[in-house]
C-alpha cells in the first residue's frame, strides 16, 4: 500500500457521510474504538456477573435468586465473555487495529472493507450472545469449556436455546476474528513503510502479530468443535456423544467421544491463552521501555521468545487434560513441553526487570500498571509450573488453585496491560491526557484488590476446594474458616469492580476536560507518536509516508541531545548512532 498514491489509496474508503464515518467506518482507528467500546461494554456485563457469583460464594444463600442454575450460568457467561469477547477482542480488534498501521507506517489496514466487516461480525456475535440471556431456560451453564455430553443435556441449565446461541455466537466471533486477523498479518508483512524492517518493529506489533497467527491457526479448531457440537445437539449426530442415559432416559447417541471434544477445545484453548498473553507481553515491553527511558533489554531475544512461545503453545494443550481419562502416557510428553515453555517466558520476565535496571524510571500511570503486570504475571507464571507438572496437577486440578492461577495469568495480568496501554495511548487517540489522580486510584484498587482476591485463593486450592461449586455445605475436609476467607475475597472483588467505574468515568471526563496532550507527551521514539496530526486523521501520514531509520528503542543514547531519538530521525542528521541503520542494536563491545 505504501506504493499506492495517497489520494488513490484513500478514495477507496474515504468517509463521505455520517454513516460511513462513524458507523460503517473503514478507518482502522475508528474500528479500533468500536471494538474497544463494545468489548468494554460486554466486559462490564461479565464484571457484574462475577460480583453475583462472588456474593453467593462469600455469603452463601444470602441472595436466594442466585440458585444453582443461575450460579452456573453466571460462571459460564463470565468466563466466556472475559476470555473471548473482552480480552481477545480488545487486544486484536482494539489495540491491533489502532497500533499496527500507525506503528508500521501504513495508511490503514490493507483490506479496510474486510476490517469493517470484521467489527460488524463481532458486534453480531455479541448480540447473539446477549440474546441468550433472554431466551427461555436462559444462557448456557455448561462452563466456558462446554464439555459434552453435559453441555447439551438437560441436567445443565440453558441446554435448550442457551447452548445453541452460545455456539452460534462463537462461530460468528471466529468469522470476525479471521477477517480481522488476515488483515493484521498482511498489513504487518506487506504494508510496512520504507525502512521498517521486521527487526525494527516495536514489540507490541510482534506480540499482536504472533497472537494473530495463533488465532488464525487455533480458532478453526474451536470452529469445528462448535459446529460438531451443534450437529450433536440439533441433528442427533454423535461426534462427542457416546451412548448415555440422561436423567434415566436412554438417548439415541452412540459411539462418540467426549475426550475428542476436549482435545479439539484445548488445541484452541491453550493457544488462546497466548492470544491474550502475547499482545500483553509486547505492549508491556514498550510501556516499560518508554517510561524508564531505556531500550527494552535484549530486543532480539524478546522477539524470538514471542515466536518460540507461540510455536510451543500448539504442543502443550493436553496439560489441561491430565485427569480427563485420556491415555495417561500423554502426561510425560505434555508435562515436558509445558515446562520447556517456562524458559522463554522466564526470559521475558527477566528482560522486563532488567530494562528497569539502570533506567530513568518515571512512575507514570502506565508504568505503575506495567510494574503491577510483572508482579502478577510472575505469580501466574510460577503457579503454571505447578499445574503443568503432571504429578502436582493430579491433586490440584479442578480446585481453586486453578481458578487463582488462570485469573492471575490470563485475567489480571493482561487486563493490567490493557489499562496501562489505554493510559499510554489515550493521548494519541483523543489528543488529551487521562486524569492522573484517578488513574492512580484506579491502579491501586485494581492491583492491590486483585492481589487480595487471588493470592489467598491459591491456599483454598491447596486445601482441595473444588471449583465450580455452588455451595460447600457439609464437606468436612474444608475448614469453616475457609468461609471467612471467601467472604474476604468477595469484598475485595466488589471493591475492584467499583474501581473500574472510576476508570470509565475518567475515560469520559478526560475526553472533554483532560489536559491537551500534544503529539508526543511521553517523548516516545516509536512511529505512532510521529504522526503529523494528533489525533491522526484518515490516512494517518499526510501526503508523504514516513521513512524509518532506526529501531524504536533509541532512548538515552549516549551523545544524543534528547533522551529519545524518533524512528524517523535519519542517522547523522542529528545524533543518531552510527551502525544502527540495519536496526540491529549495537553489540556489547560496540559502544564507547
Amino acid at each position: 500500500m505504501s506504493n499506492v498514491p495517497y489520494q488513490e489509496a484513500l478514495a477507496l474508503h474515504d468517509p463521505t457521510s455520517y454513516w460511513t464515518k462513524y458507523v460503517f467506518s473503514q478507518d482502522h482507528k475508528w474500528i479500533a474504538i468500536q471494538y474497544t467500546v463494545t468489548a468494554v461494554a460486554v466486559g462490564m456485563v461479565a464484571l457484574v456477573m462475577s460480583w453475583l457469583m462472588r456474593l453467593q460464594l462469600g455469603f452463601p444463600g444470602a441472595f436466594s435468586f442466585i440458585d444453582p442454575s443461575t450460579y452456573y450460568q453466571l460462571v459460564t457467561m463470565h468466563g466466556m465473555i472475559m476470555v473471548i469477547y473482552l480480552l481477545t477482542a480488545i487486544f486484536l480488534g482494539g489495540f491491533g487495529n489502532f497500533l499496527i498501521p500507525l506503528m508500521v507506517g501504513a495508511r490503514d489496514m490493507v483490506f479496510p472493507f474486510v476490517n469493517m466487516l470484521s467489527y460488524w461480525a463481532y458486534f453480531l456475535s455479541v448480540l447473539v450472545l446477549m440474546a441468550s440471556l433472554l431466551v427461555p431456560g436462559g444462557p448456557t451453564g455448561a462452563g466456558w469449556t462446554m464439555y459434552p455430553p453435559q453441555a447439551i443435556l438437560p441436567g445443565t441449565p440453558g441446554s435448550g436455546a442457551g447452548i445453541v446461541l452460545m455456539l452460534v455466537s462463537l462461530v460468528l466471533f471466529i468469522v470476525a476474528a479471521t477477517m480481522g486477523g488476515l488483515n493484521y498479518v498482511v498489513t504487518v508483512l506487506q504494508a510496512r513503510t520504507r525502512g521498517m524492517t521486521m527487526m525494527r518493529l516495536p514489540l507490541s506489533v510482534w506480540g499482536i502479530l504472533m497472537a494473530t497467527v495463533l488465532a488464525l491457526l487455533a480458532f478453526p479448531a474451536l470452529f469445528v468443535g462448535a459446529v460438531m457440537t451443534l450437529f450433536d445437539r440439533l441433528l442427533g449426530s454423535s461426534f462427542f456423544m457416546p451412548a448415555v442415559i440422561s436423567m434415566g432416559k436412554h438417548l439415541d447417541y452412540a459411539g462418540g467421544s467426549p475426550i475428542l471434544f476436549q482435545h479439539i477445545f484445548w488445541f484452541f484453548g491453550h493457544p488462546e491463552v497466548y492470544i491474550v498473553a502475547l499482545p500483553a507481553f509486547g505492549i508491556v515491553s514498550d510501556l516499560i521501555s518508554v517510561h524508564s527511558r531505556k531500550n527494552i533489554f535484549g530486543y532480539r531475544i524478546m522477539v524470538w521468545a514471542i515466536v518460540i512461545i507461540g510455536v510451543l503453545s500448539f504442543v502443550v494443550w493436553a496439560h489441561h487434560m491430565y485427569v480427563s481419562g485420556m491415555n495417561p502416557y500423554f502426561g510425560f510428553f505434555f508435562a515436558t513441553t509445558t515446562l520447556i515453555i517456562a524458559v522463554p517466558t522466564a526470559i521475558k520476565v527477566y528482560n522486563w526487570v532488567l530494562t528497569l535496571w539502570r533506567g530513568d524510571i518515571h512512575l507514570t500511570v502506565p508504568m505503575l500498571f506495567s510494574i503491577g503486570f510483572v508482579s502478577s504475571f510472575t505469580i501466574g507464571g510460577l503457579t503454571g509450573l505447578f499445574l503443568g507438572n503432571v504429578t502436582i496437577d493430579l491433586p490440584l486440578s479442578d480446585t481453586y488453585f486453578v481458578v487463582a492461577h488462570f485469573h492471575m495469568v490470563m485475567g489480571v495480568s493482561p487486563i493490567l496491560v490493557v489499562f496501562g496501554g489505554i493510559y499510554h495511548w489515550y493521548p494519541k487517540i483523543t489528543g488529551r491526557m487521562l486524569n492522573d489522580t484517578w488513574g492512580k486510584i484506579h491502579f491501586w484498587f485494581t492491583f492491590l484488590g486483585t492481589y487480595a482476591i487471588y493470592f489467598p485463593m491459591h491456599y483454598l486450592g491447596f486445601v482441595g476446594m473444588p471449583r465450580r461449586y455452588h455451595a460447600y455445605d457439609g464437606y468436612e475436609f474444608i475448614p469453616e474458616s475457609a468461609q471467612d476467607l471467601n467472604a474476604f475475597i468477595t469484598i475485595s472483588a466488589l471493591m475492584v469492580g467499583v474501581a473500574q467505574f472510576i476508570f470509565l468515568y475518567n475515560l469520559y471526563w478526560s475526553y472533554r476536560n483532560g489536559r491537551v496532550a500534544g503529539p508526543n507527551p511521553w517523548n516516545a521514539a516509536s512511529l505512532e507518536w510521529q504522526t503529523p496530526q494528533t489525533p491522526p486523521v484518515h490516512g494517518n501520514w499526510g501526503p508523504k509516508l514516513p521513512t524509518v531509520y532506526r529501531w524504536p528503542y533509541d532512548y538515552s543514547v549516549p551523545g544524543a541531545d534528547q533522551d529519545f531519538i524518533p524512528q524517523t530521525q535519519p542517522p547523522g542528521s542529528a545524533f543518531g548512532m552510527p551502525g544502527h541503520t540495519d536496526g540491529v542494536p549495537l553489540p556489547e563491545g560496540g559502544k564507547a
Binding site: P68, G248, R293, N389, P466
Partner: protein, 474 residues
Amino acid sequence: MAIAIVLILLVIGSVVFHFWSPWWITPLASNWSEMDDTLMITFWVSGAVFIAINLFMAYAVIRFRHKTGRKAHYEPENKKLEWWLTILTTIGVVIMLAPGLIVYNDFVHAPDGASVIEVLGKQWQWGYRFPGSDGILGNSEPRFVDFTNPFGLDPDDPNAQDDVVVASGELHLPINKPIQILLRSKDVLHDFYVPHFRAKMDAVPGAISSFWFTPTRLGKFDSACAEYCGVGHHTMRSFVIVDEPADFEQWLSAQPTFSQSVAKTPAGGAGESAAKGLEVAQKQGCLGCHSVDGTASTGPTWKNLYGKTETLENGNTVVVDEAYLKEAITTPNASVVKGFAPIMPPYQLSEEDLKALVDYTRSLSESDGQASGGGSGLVETGRAIAQQQGCLGCHSIDGSPGTGPTWKGLFGKQEKLADGSTIVVDEAFLKESVSNPSATVIEGFSPIMPPYQLTPDQLDSLVAYTKSLGAGAE
C-alpha cells in the same frame, strides 16, 4: 516510590500469610506422599523466584526512579547475562520436572495385585461395584441400564452375577491394600475425588478410565465430584470409609450381589409378569413410539388399548386381545391400526416376553384400573412415567438416600421446606413440586430439580405411584 514499598510489603505480607494461614494441604491418607514432596519442591523454588523478582523490581524502582539529571544506561543486550539466566532457569525447570515425571511413572503403573473396584458416576450420585468371589468384573453396557440394573450389567454374563453392587451410599475400602479404581459414567463427565488421597480421575461416558492409590489411614473421608457435571455438581458427594480388613470384609459381605439385587427388585403394584413386560417394553424400545399415558405418538398409545375395538388400515375391525397384540408385535404390518404409518419393524420375542408384554398392556387398561380403585393400572403408568422421565435417577423408591427425597413413605409425611414452613405431602404438594420444583424444596436438599411439564393424567399416575410406595410409613 509507593510502588516499591508496596512490592516489598506484598512480599513480606505473602510470606507472613503463608506461615499464618490455617489453609494448607489436606492431611494425606494415601501412599502418595511423593506427590506432596513434588509439590513442595515446586512451591519453594517458585516461592524463591517470586520473592527475588519482586524485591529486585522494588530495588530497581527505588534506586533508579526519575530525578532531574538522571540518564538511563544504554545497553541493548548482554549476551553473557542472558545465557546465564537461560541456563539457570533451565536447571530450575529440570529440578521441578524430573521428580514429577518419576512420581508420575509410578502413578500410571498400578501395582500387580491391586484390588480392582469400579466407581460409576451418574448425575448426581456415585455407585460402586466389587468383582465378587470370582475376582472378575462382569461385562456392562449402557443398553442394559434400567431401573432394576443401574450398573448396566450383562444379565447373561456369568462373571457379572456375583459382582457386588453398591448403588448409592458410602464406599468402604481396606487399609494398606493397593486399590485400582476403574471409572465409568452413565451420562456426563464426572471426577472421583477424595482430597485426602490426592489422586483423582475423570469418569467418561463411553470409556473406562483408571487410577490407583493405597489408603494408609483409617477413617471417614469426603469424596466429591471434581469435574463439572451439571446443576447438581456440588451435591454429588459421598464418603470413603477406610476399614481394617476384617471390618471391610464384613461390610462387603452384607452388600447384595448383582443377581440378588435383581431378584429383590419390587414388582410394584401389578403382577410380576406385567412388571417384566414393562422391562421388555423399555429394553426393546416400544415406549419410544407407544405412550402409556394416552398421549399421541408414532404408534397407538397402550393406555386403555387392551379390550378396545380398533379399525385397521384394511377396513376390518378387531378387538384388541392377546392374540391380536402378539400378532401386531411379530408381524406388525399385517395389522396396522388406521391412521398410523406401517413403519414398525417385526420383533422376534420369546413366548414368555410376549406374554409379559400383553400382561403389561392389560395392566394399562381402564377396566383393570377402575376395578382396583385407581390402583394398579394407574400405578403402573406412574411407575413407567417415573422411569421414562428419569425421576428415579434422583429419587429412590426403597428409602435409600439420593439427590432428591426418597419416595418410599413420602406420601402423607410431614416435611419441613427450605423456607422454614412445614407441609404435609399430599396430592397438591406433589403435583406442584413436579411442575414447579424450586417453589417447594424440602429442607436439606438442593434446589436443582428442573421443572417437568406433564399432563394432568400423567400427574395423577405419578401421585398414585408415589402413594403405592407406602403412606407416611416412616
